[in-house]
């Protein structure tokens, strides 16, 4: 087991040195995208080496038996695990509080610059931390092997759980993480007894409750608020110049005339891109001008799809009405979720959106009697006049592009500027009489509404909807699309989804496509740290600018 942990630790070091070290200067979110790429690569790598079947772990030699505790049999191995965990906790605590290395690491998280002024080699420090982290993850995987075996889907489950536990415990607190793990473990175990359907959402419910009551987890400290000005990386959003407008018109013309040349497969692809672009624009609106990170965007997209599908299924609502109601209902949902989330900031905010996303997903997934559960809702088709593929193509384009243009316009109105003011400097915004909470809340709801519209169109284009549309994976895909396009570029949410869906469609026919997709992501992060549209802005932006803004 220690061997496995060491191997994983060394693998972690290898990844850190070969890749991540080059990326510390890029924004944290892109680092996240690169690590996601690594996950994809490792996942397919594992499949390639070990095969797709689940592996059952051997019983641990010497501790196969059980012990009788108060009339029930406890496997010895479980008892060993119960002892190992606090020992590991104690070990880590000692490392961070008593060893010189640990103290340096803690100092570096407090103040990077000061530590480097003191002559500490930071790169080595981070590599060490990465090794310790990977080592512990490997150890965790190895010691749970005799209990649960190994399968290829472990990664997603574990990532979500690990994130939740760290956030509930409070970032930076090792003891908090341990307590959170125990609490969530116990609640999940007892939750099954009381309310069997709760297993999937228990963890996220706990997180939602904890974050609402204690915004920084059990032991976390509030993050330093950004005062603005210093952070020059915040990009300027420029209104479109004449040349860019012309380009936009050409783009619209191409979309309008495309059916003359393209086959139905391309049209379907274009429809999908347009829908996802609208949903991505919603997420961009929250993340870019809003400055709020969301990991639960699929709740609004899937929510819109389900809202429309349920209305059609139960109330025989016509398509037109369903497409009006879906955004309104999802706007309302976003208003409710936003009221809790917008109070938080940074990673905590993101995790609370994830929690709400998961809660929405599990409601849909487990309330089979109403939503069809895993089987989804089938045969939701457009009204007769729009049933024709071509008509539906144009309908989608009008609604999606209309939504995108509306959101884009909103960014340049006083509302959009005020929203950005809240992001740039909450302090300054407050002293200008701006209620930052209200603006961010409203932005959350507006973006949710437009995303709900995207979901509504989506369900009519596919004819059916399944819980997958609300799952974490979907949320992450939206995040990737926005990042791929570029968070600081308004065109990002169009370019990103287009690139993502095209890539996905092209590559997914190859065996081990996830491996390739992972590599593509990493290459994109390295090559375009500002996203594709961000890159073009930087590279060719001046050809399109009206010199309205001069460079310093």
């Amino acid at each position: 087991m220690l061997g496995a942990a060491l191997v994983v630790g060394v693998l972690g070091v290898f990844i850190e040195i070969s890749l991540l070290r080059r990326l510390y200067h890029v924004p944290e979110l892109f680092l996240l995208m690169a690590t996601f790429g690594i996950v994809l690569i490792l996942q397919d790598g594992t499949r390639w080496i070990f095969g797709a079947e689940d592996l059952l772990g051997p019983r641990a030699p010497g501790i196969e038996g059980s012990v009788n505790i108060m009339g029930s049999l406890m496997p010895q191995y479980d008892l060993v695990l119960i002892i190992i965990a606090p020992l590991v906790l104690g070990g880590i605590w000692l490392i961070f509080h008593r060893s010189r290395w640990g103290v340096l690491v803690r100092a570096a998280t407090e103040d990077r610059e000061m530590v480097s002024v003191l002559g500490v080699n930071q790169a080595r420090l981070y590599t060490g931390v990465f090794f310790l982290g990977s080592f512990l993850a490997g150890l965790g995987g190895a010691i749970q092997l005799p209990k649960g075996g190994a399968d290829l889907l472990m990664d997603m489950n574990v990532i979500a759980a690990a994130f939740v536990i760290v956030v509930v415990g409070g970032m930076g607190s090792i003891i908090g993480a341990y307590l959170a793990a125990v609490l969530i473990g116990e609640l999940s175990a007892f939750g099954i007894l009381i309310f069997p359907q709760s297993t999937l959402i228990m963890m996220f419910l706990v997180m939602a409750v904890v974050l609402v009551i204690r915004p920084y987890g059990f032991f976390g400290k509030s993050e330093a608020r950004r005062t603005g000005s210093e952070d020059a990386s915040l990009a300027l959003l420029q209104p479109a110049s004449k040349k860019l407008r012309l380009l936009g018109l050409i783009f619209l013309a191409v979309i309008g005339l495309l059916p003359l040349f393209a086959g139905s497969f391309q049209l379907i692809l274009m429809t999908e891109i347009a829908i996802f672009a609208l949903a991505s624009m919603g997420l961009y609106f929250i993340m870019g001008p809003g400055g709020m990170l969301s990991f639960g965007h699929a709740a609004f997209f899937g929510g819109g799809a389900y809202a429309a599908a349920l209305m059609v299924h139960y109330l025989q609502t016509p398509m037109e009405l369903a497409l009006v109601m879906a955004p309104l209902l999802i706007g309302l949902l976003a208003l409710i979720i936003g009221w809790f989330c917008v109070r938080l900031s940074g990673v905590y905010l993101a995790m609370l959106t994830l929690a709400f996303g998961q809660i929405c997903w599990s409601i849909v997934f487990q309330w089979g009697g109403f939503t069809g559960g895993d089987d989804g809702i089938l045969s939701i088709w457009p009204s007769k006049w729009a049933a024709d593929k071509l008509v539906f193509y144009y309908l989608t384009m009008v609604l999606s592009l209309g939504g995108i243009i509306a959101l884009r316009y909103l960014i340049f109105t006083p509302f959009g500027y005020t929203l950005r003011a809240c992001r740039d400097s909450a302090l300054r915004a407050g002293t200008l009489g701006i209620n930052t909470f209200k603006y961010q809340w409203a932005a959350f709801a507006v973006a949710g509404g437009f995303t709900g519209l995207a979901g509504g169109i989506y369900v009519f284009s596919k004819g059916s909807v399944f819980p997958d549309e609300m799952a974490i994976t979907r949320s992450f895909e939206f995040l990737l699309m926005v990042l791929l396009g570029g968070v600081d570029a308004i065109m990002g949410p169009i370019v990103g989804p287009a690139a993502f869906i095209w890539l996905h469609n092209t590559i997914s026919r190859i065996d081990f496509w996830q491996f390739i997709l992972g590599i593509v992501f990493i290459v994109l992060v390295v090559a375009f740290p500002q996203g594709i549209a961000g890159f073009f802005n930087q590279r060719f932006g001046r050809y399109f600018s009206e010199r309205y803004y001069q460079e310093g």
């Binding site: 603005g228 006083p414 740039d424 302090l427 701006i434 803004y549």
Partner: protein, 252 residues
């Protein structure tokens, strides 16, 4: 008695066990310039943040135009006609200088919510006037992120003037500037304050600036007010001399 523009009485605030501001009282009238001085850690910025509503006082009273403001949020205090500049400049880094002013004006004119018209065309002339006033009309279309520190201070001043304040709070308005520019900016500030009959309270370390521009001076040390009076009186004050001789050469 007519209520004064700003009346601070027995203001106290502690953090944990440390008392940052202890029973401080002073007041300020329209059109008057009051400097707050004191060594580092004297509680000047805390005092500002209390008046501005970023922090809440443990005890004491702050009245603006006779209205008690302890417990109000910064945005409510702004509505009473208070403009504020920060020690570490807080501007909107993703916007141009002009847009910084425009968005502030939109808030003042209750247009910040509008989702219909583009901000670009709103309050443009008024914003330009403010930039002329503070002497940086040429920088209107520059991104705030590329400006020199001294110019950012001017942007801050223009932003603080957008709500036509009656009371201006300036936390080290000239920090990071060269001496000549300090005097220029403070000349400008004095002129604005006098012509518009604004009461101004500012924190300053540069004694030349203080003695040239302030009508009155309040001296804090370790959270307590140790002296108050005209610049001449403060200069002669034994307490002040004792504090400053140890910390500062009084003319840095």
């Amino acid at each position: 008695m007519m209520s004064r523009l700003l009346q601070v009485t027995n203001l106290s605030r502690s953090f944990g066990g440390v008392t940052a501001v202890k029973q401080v009282s002073f007041d300020l009238e329209d059109g008057q310039i009051l400097a707050m001085i004191g060594p580092n850690g004297a509680g000047k910025s805390t005092c500002f943040n209390l008046i501005n509503g970023q922090l809440h006082a443990d005890v004491g009273s702050i009245k603006i135009d006779g209205q008690e403001v302890v417990g109000l949020k910064p945005r409510h205090i702004w509505q009473l006609g208070v403009g504020r500049t920060f020690q570490v400049t807080a501007t909107f880094a993703s916007m141009t200088v002009l847009e910084n002013i425009q968005v502030a004006l939109a808030s003042f004119r209750k247009k910040a919510r509008s989702p219909l018209r583009k901000l670009r065309n709103l309050f443009r002339e008024e914003a330009m006037e403010l930039l002329h006033l503070v002497g940086i009309p040429d920088y209107a279309n520059l991104v705030c992120g590329v400006l020199a520190y001294g110019d950012l201070k001017r942007v801050e001043l223009a932003v603080a003037l957008t709500n036509q304040p009656r009371l201006l709070l300036m936390d080290e308005p000239t920090a990071g500037m060269e001496p000549a520019e300090r005097q220029r900016l403070m000349d400008l500030t004095s002129r604005i304050v006098r012509t518009r009959n604004i009461g101004a309270l500012f924190i300053e370390h540069d004694m030349d600036v203080v003695f040239t521009h302030a009508d009155r001076v309040v001296v804090l040390n370790r959270g307590e007010k140790i002296a108050e009076g005209t610049p001449g009186q403060v200069r002669q004050n034994d307490n002040v001399r004792a504090v400053y001789l140890g910390f500062d050469d009084a003319s840095s």
